[in-house]
Amino acid sequence: MKIFSKIYIALILLFLYAPIAVMVLFSFNSSGSVWVFENFSLDWYKELLFNTSMLNALKHTIIIAVLSAIISTVVGTAASVGILALRKKVTKSLVMSATNIPLMNADIVTGISLMLLFVFFGKLLGLHESLGFITVLVAHITFNLPYVILSVMPKLKQTDSSLSEAALDLGCTPLQAFFKAVLPSISSGIFSGFIMAFTLSLDDFVISYFTCGHYQTLPIVIYNMTKKTVTPDAYALSTIIFVVIFVLLILYNTVQNKSSVKEAAKI
């Protein structure tokens, strides 16, 4: 039984990683084929350095990911504080249901509905082009917010409310009490919310596809590449992203582990 379960786990992992292995392998292919492997080379990685449309898209993706992660972390953390302070249960559950909509809905529906909003108001304002940088940013913040709230809120619930009351009694202003007493104890939740928002934004294709106009992010460029024939440079690029996200995820996990060790130590 033990052996059977180990084989099963190994087989599933093989299934999950086979396409990724293929991608990494062919990113080192010397010929332009993604079918036949010839020789090992780094040509496609060098090629990336000169592919301006891809580099531009990379710049766009990073700008959007950083900005949307920062804004959604700030707004989302504040929102968590405010939502928990709500006294009426009905209002609270109403707000939480609204928060859950982007989580539950299919990406394509979220994308189309935001696109319709942008186009509608773009027309009202008489804009020539209603989709672009601002609209992707807004869309990304919108789908990031629920994730930030869901990772900050549980931490906030765990914090002792007497902590901030003590700070207030000791003469802190409410703002000081928050920054000095509450914030340190929820920082791991905020951090994981931020990382999650950043990676989600980095990886989003569907919602960006409908809201970006000419402000193309990396997944959009990859999509356009896969429409025609793909050359290994898309694989090379994805390998790089793979490594970056891997590092981020390790970082995220160590922080999570540390904070859970700390919590265990507290008890």
């Binding site: 929102a79 504080v81 319709l116 186009v119 294709f205 896969t226 898309a234």
Partner: protein, 275 residues
């Protein structure tokens, strides 16, 4: 005290404004576009046109159902076996299972073409064994495979979370009451894991039913699914936004219905299921 509460409630104000404009209003926008024509005049024409997409809806639901079932059959034993091994290896395997989720799914899907194509890895291998090339790509099977592959982690994660939280004393009680391991699985573990199964099912079904990339790449664009239809209409330009909106609205209602059914199985709080 009251003042403080008011102050802390106020900090959520920016979020409320944001959620109202960018979560709630877009839903009404969808309704507005669905029931108006290009000039903003009320019409039912978009709804009438939906009949043309009956087949797309049927196909999408069918494929999503099949891939959700297969995903469940693969994921449940995996999640179950994972809870049986050392805690430190559990964390590692969980990380490995979740990790592909963070990879660009376009490329992950596209890599399957390299594996499945007529000149791809599997067929090259078969050719060396003297077996004829099999038609693997551009088949219904390839689409299902793509869906199962892309969304498997979404099923494993919630089931694993629920299974690993099951109170060990429950299992001991079952042992004491004379259950064998099969009975224990059927009578104790499975019922307790239902909330995880329910959220896994929604988390796989929703993206499967609405996907457009997997169907285009691995299905060879031969048939139109709901996602394809929406994407196609979107690309035709603003004149077709109204019909696209109508299809999206129906898709959303469909998803909400599916979720309402699933929610009946997963009552209780489940804050921790999202990584």
């Amino acid at each position: 005290m009251n003042k403080k509460r008011f102050g802390s409630r106020l900090v959520a104000a920016p979020y409320y404004v944001w959620a109202a404009i960018f979560i709630i209003v877009p839903l009404f926008m969808m309704i507005y576009y669905t029931f108006t024509d290009v000039n903003g005049v009320f019409t039912l024409a978009n709804i009438m046109q939906l009949g043309r997409f009956k087949k797309a809806f049927g196909l999408s639901i069918l494929y999503a159902l099949i891939s959700t079932i297969i995903t469940f059959i693969i994921a449940y034993p995996l999640a179950y076996f994972m809870t049986k091994i050392k805690i430190s290896s559990q964390r590692l395997i969980l990380l490995l299972v979740v990790f592909p989720m963070w990879m660009n799914f376009l490329i992950r899907t596209y890599s399957w073409i390299t594996i499945l194509a007529n000149t791809g890895i599997i067929n090259t291998f078969l050719g060396k064994l003297g077996l004829g090339p099999l038609q693997l790509i551009n088949t219904p099977g390839a689409v299902i495979l793509g869906m199962v592959y892309d969304f498997l982690p979404y099923m494993v994660l919630p089931i694993y979370t629920v299974l690993s939280k099951i109170d060990k004393s429950m299992l001991e009680a079952a042992d004491d009451l004379g259950c064998n391991s099969l009975q224990k699985l059927r009578r104790v573990i499975f019922p307790l894991s239902l909330p995880g199964v329910a959220s896994g099912i929604t988390m796989v079904f929703v993206p499967s039913v609405s996907t457009f990339y997997i169907t285009q790449k691995l299905g060879g664009n031969k048939t139109m699914f709901v996602g394809d239809a929406i994407e196609y209409l979107f690309n035709l330009g603003p004149d077709f936004y109204n019909v696209a909106s109508a299809i999206s609205l129906v898709l959303m209602v469909l998803i909400l219905l599916c979720m309402a059914v699933m929610n009946r199985f997963s009552e209780g709080d489940e804050e921790g299921v999202i990584i």
